[in-house]
């Protein structure tokens, strides 16, 4: 064999050998509790990076142990792209995966997948249940202000059986004895209303005007409380934030608190005899019987170096706060008692956004 060919043979064999060494990292799955043990604990939804399809579920058991990647561990596949929220009905949990346009239905104790709902779901946001029906707010195409709707899910067949057209950007949804309230936060635009839907006729029976960008709603003693963040200054059209109290018998605004200009609160949740809301990383308390703006915060998260306050809830007399960090790293859960004293922090996955009590 002549020299050139020999050289070529050697070089080619080296190149072939190079291939034999390709090795991937193994997928890391935490140890999980026994199947059927996802009871008496709290699910944390990690929405994951936009288009990265790495949404996941973490579970905090009664002892405070965290189990990450629950959905993947049980079902052997990812949850999808941007997990927005979760709801429970009967033995089932419904995971709304916003950018996948799917709803993953799982058994809430085993987390085994039951079905993936794909039809008539477009940019799902939140879910509530009335009898054997689920009601899901959908933005539709976010750039189209006219195609937004509430999808009606038959929980027996897990199919969407009706869609109720609503105003732009339906977000939070709550049920009060068969009457549904939908907050129009706005999708690409900004909403300023609450739709009242009668679930018997499945039509919008009333629209209640509130301040701009209505978000979380809670029910207490036949009153609906809703927080409106107002439009921020960067929109070029800044408006004031407010908390509204709506009488659910008359569906009229009964009382309202207006925030000072330039103040834009975030989340609102129900505590024992009061509501808690978040503002610039601090937590404020308003007693139901007082309903005036507090002068000082209940506590501030700055001592825990919170970066982005991205999820907030009150479960079993503890305050849960999700820190999304810089959105491109694993997030953290901060737990406080009702006096605002820091209890502990827990590492979860990418962009935690919500806490769901599975009792």
């Amino acid at each position: 064999m002549n020299k050139g060919l020999k050289l070529l043979t050697i070089c080619i064999s080296i190149l072939f050998l190079q291939h034999c060494t390709s090795e991937d990292r193994e997928i890391i799955v935490d140890n999980q509790p026994l199947s059927g043990d996802y009871a008496n604990g709290i699910f944390v939804l990690n929405e994951g990076g936009y288009t990265n399809s790495n949404a996941s579920v973490s579970f905090i058991d009664a002892s405070g142990q965290v189990y990450n990647n629950v959905f993947f561990a049980i079902n052997g596949r990812g949850l999808g792209d941007v997990a927005q929220s979760m709801g429970f009905n009967g033995d089932f949990a419904y995971l709304l995966v916003n950018n996948s346009n799917t709803i993953e239905v799982v058994n809430k104790y085993t987390f085994e997948s039951v079905i993936t709902i794909e039809n008539n779901i477009l940019n799902p946001r939140y879910i509530t249940f009335v009898g054997d029906k689920g009601y899901i707010t959908n933005w539709g195409d976010p750039a189209d202000p006219t195609d937004d709707y509430v999808a009606v899910l038959n929980v027996e067949t897990n199919t969407i059986i009706n869609t109720i057209p609503v105003a732009e950007g339906p977000e939070a949804i709550v049920n009060n004895n068969g009457t549904i309230y939908v907050a129009h936060q706005g999708a690409y635009g900004y909403g300023n209303s609450i739709s009242v839907i009668d679930t018997t006729s499945e039509t919008v029976t009333k629209t209640i005007e509130v301040a701009d960008v209505p978000g979380n709603m809670i029910i207490d003693n036949n009153s609906l409380y809703i927080i409106c963040s107002g439009k921020a200054s960067w929109t070029g059209d800044e408006t004031s934030a407010g908390i509204y109290k709506i009488n659910m018998v008359t569906n009229l605004v009964e009382d309202e608190i207006t925030f000072a200009t330039g103040v834009h609160p975030g989340f609102l949740k129900k505590a024992n005899n009061s509501i808690l809301y978040t503002l610039n990383g601090a937590i404020y308390n308003i007693a139901f019987n007082d309903f005036t703006l507090p002068a000082t915060a209940l506590f501030n998260t700055s001592t825990q170096n919170l970066e982005v306050l991205y999820g907030f809830n009150i479960i079993n007399n503890k305050i849960y706060i999700a820190d999304a960090k810089d959105y491109v790293s694993n997030g953290e859960v901060l737990i406080y008692n009702m006096q605002g004293e820091f209890q502990e922090g827990m590492d979860v996955k990418i962009i935690p956004n919500g806490f769901y009590n599975n009792n």
Partner: protein, 609 residues
């Protein structure tokens, strides 16, 4: 790392084998013979010429992925693609079209899948900071896209047709005509693909990934007399892409690019003086459709005027240079305020070939504008040919990147008080020339201050700021060898980069910057038959800033194999070829959740008459 280095050493060894054959010099710069020109001598550049361009895929992404140390991340084949050159961010690589910076004024970066390399005669990869010469963004390095004007070659036509898996096609036609004093060329390239490949190892298919683009390039050259030449360059790029779906039920989106570039150049050459005046006008337009079924879109468009003047004056062994740049941008968008900005700079430089073995160069640039702080930039270096087979290069420079239209003028969120990013760097290159072989070993350090980043506040609102400092160091090896024995021809080239790029505050590696990248290519020719093999190994990359191991994108190895036969006689070329891409059917992705295709095929024909 150990494995990669040993492979590299093995390859070098492989080439050393060839030593005892007749000596043929590589066409490397040799100080003894050079006449000083307006180019950089103390850093490293790699020229990818026409034959390499033809054997590679038409996207700049694929070309550089297989032939340079640059790491490329691609949102699926043909989708948005950006580089990390020497551990820097996507905006810290400058792309220049015939000497004019074409990075987007809105995003600061070039989408490497919107450059069809068939429209250019050569692509040059220049490593390291080059802001004095190349302007903003030249921090990690620069990519030059060049059209050559040729004279006295008569009428030449070149047709290149390619067809492959997933209905991927390429159609390129270039015609040129030149006399002693006039030169004309026109190139037309069209590329596209259904791009509906299966995701290896899954039942999923790449949905909504179809794309096509058209590139038209034209050049005119007129030699008015012995001293004066007028050149005209123009380029139109029209690209339409649907963006492949991250999940099967996601809303379908699409993206249009339309860019035009035109330039008039007047060159005056005499014994002592070379004067170049360039006037260029560029337009960039994008439209993003969040739902392909609707007309609603968001857009950005910028028109940019460039005026560049440079004078080189030869004084003995010295070359003195001076020049100025003026740049006007006129931009607006659906979320960007309409603004016109004026940027200027003056440049002064000196190069001297002190003796047969020693050269130094130094240049400075003062930016002039009223929008952000105007930095003073410099570059200085030396080259010493210590032995006939060894030369040493040192270079240090200060470089910058200006805030973009998005950063400064985004409605409500833009920050008019941003400062430019600044980069201070130094490098040492050792160049070894052995018979038929060259090896360049470079170590560098780069500290980048005031990194322009959009970061969220406590309420999750993203705003741009000068957020971080980054420290980068690394090592690069470039290896080339060729060998001819009788009618057998063998070419080997390899690059290896080790890159550490860390956030100064957290000491974590930047996301999408691999520690290791290796490329090798091997080409063998026998009479009219040739075969080539390309191989790359991209190291694993972090996708989260906390460097969490569970979110890593795995390392991957990728190889292509091709063979071609020239049926032509004399100077005419009729080449027929075939390629196997991803020969080993590697399952890989360069961006999280963006799987790349498995093994696929293409065939091509090339007529040159």
């Amino acid at each position: 790392m150990y494995r990669l280095v040993s492979i590299l050493l093995f390859l070098s060894h492989c080439a050393v084998f060839a030593q005892d054959a007749p000596v043929t010099e590589l066409s490397e710069v040799n100080l003894k013979y050079i006449k000083l020109k307006d180019s950089v001598y103390t850093t490293t550049q790699t020229i990818l010429s026409d034959s390499i361009l033809k054997r590679n895929q038409s996207s700049l992404t694929s070309l550089l992925n297989f032939n340079s140390t640059i790491y490329l991340k691609e949102n699926g084949l043909g989708m948005v693609s950006s580089p990390s050159f020497r551990g820097t961010t996507a905006q810290q690589t400058a792309v220049l079209w015939n000497g004019i910076n074409i990075n987007s004024q809105t995003t600061g970066q070039t989408d490497f899948n919107t450059i069809n390399t068939r429209g250019f005669d050569q692509v040059i990869v220049k490593s390291g900071g080059g802001s004095v010469v190349d302007g903003s963004n030249a921090i990690g390095g620069s990519i030059y896209l060049g059209n050559n004007l040729t004279y006295n070659e008569g009428f030449i036509n070149d047709v290149f047709l390619k067809y492959g898996s997933f209905n991927t096609y390429g159609l390129d036609y270039k015609t040129s005509y030149s006399t002693k004093t006039k030169s004309f060329s026109l190139g037309f390239s069209k590329a596209g693909s259904d791009n509906d490949y299966e995701y290896p190892g899954t039942e999923r298919v790449n949905l909504n990934g179809q794309f096509n683009n058209t590139n038209i390039s034209a050049t005119f050259g007129f030699k008015l007399n012995n001293e004066n030449t007028i050149n005209i360059y123009s380029n139109i790029y029209d690209g339409k892409r649907n963006f492949s779906l991250p999940t099967p039920n996601a809303l379908k989106t699409k993206y249009y690019d339309f860019n035009t570039r035109s330039m008039l150049e007047w060159e005056l050459k005499s014994d002592k003086i070379v004067s170049k005046t360039k006037v260029a006008y560029l337009t960039e337009n994008y439209e993003y459709y969040p739902n392909i079924n609707r007309d609603f879109n968001t857009y950005g468009k910028v028109g940019s005027l460039f005026v560049k003047y440079n004078l080189d004056y030869t004084l003995g062994r010295m070359l003195l240079s001076g020049g100025f740049n003026y740049n006007q941008n006129n931009g607006e968008g659906s979320d960007i305020q309409h603004k016109i900005r004026h940027l200027g700079s003056i440049v002064l430089g000196v190069k001297q070939k002190v003796n047969k073995w020693f050269l130094y160069e130094a240049s400075v640039r003062q930016e002039l504008n009223n929008i952000y702080e105007s930095p003073f930039l410099y570059s200085a270096g030396l080259q010493a040919e210590i032995a006939s087979f060894y030369s040493l290069k040192l270079n240090t420079s200060k470089n910058f990147r200006i805030p973009t239209y998005n950063d400064l003028y985004w409605e409500g969120l833009g920050n008019p008080d941003l400062k430019p990013e600044l980069s201070y760097q130094g490098e040492i290159s050792n160049v070894l020339y052995l018979p038929n072989t060259s090896l360049t070993l470079t170590g560098y350090y780069n500290t980048v201050e005031n990194l322009l980043l959009w970061t969220p506040d406590v309420n999750g609102i993203w705003r741009p700021s000068n957020a971080e400092n980054v420290n980068i160091y690394g090592f690069e090896a470039l290896f080339k060898a060729h060998k001819k024995i009788g009618r057998h021809k063998l070419d080997v080239s390899a690059t290896y980069a080790y890159t550490v790029s860390k956030n100064e505050e957290t000491d974590k590696q930047l996301i999408y910057v691999p520690y290791h990248k290796l490329t090798t290519s091997l080409s063998y020719g026998y009479k009219k038959l040739s075969a080539y093999y390309q191989f790359i190994n991209n190291g694993e990359v972090f996708t989260t800033t906390d460097n969490a191991p569970e979110h890593i994108v795995n390392s991957y190895m990728l190889a292509n194999f091709g063979a071609e036969y020239n049926l032509g006689k004399g100077t005419n070329k009729y080449t027929i070829g075939a390629q196997v891409l991803n020969l080993w059917n590697e399952t890989y992705e360069s961006v999280l959740n963006r799987p790349a295709p498995g093994r696929n095929y293409s065939v091509y024909l090339n007529f040159n008459i």
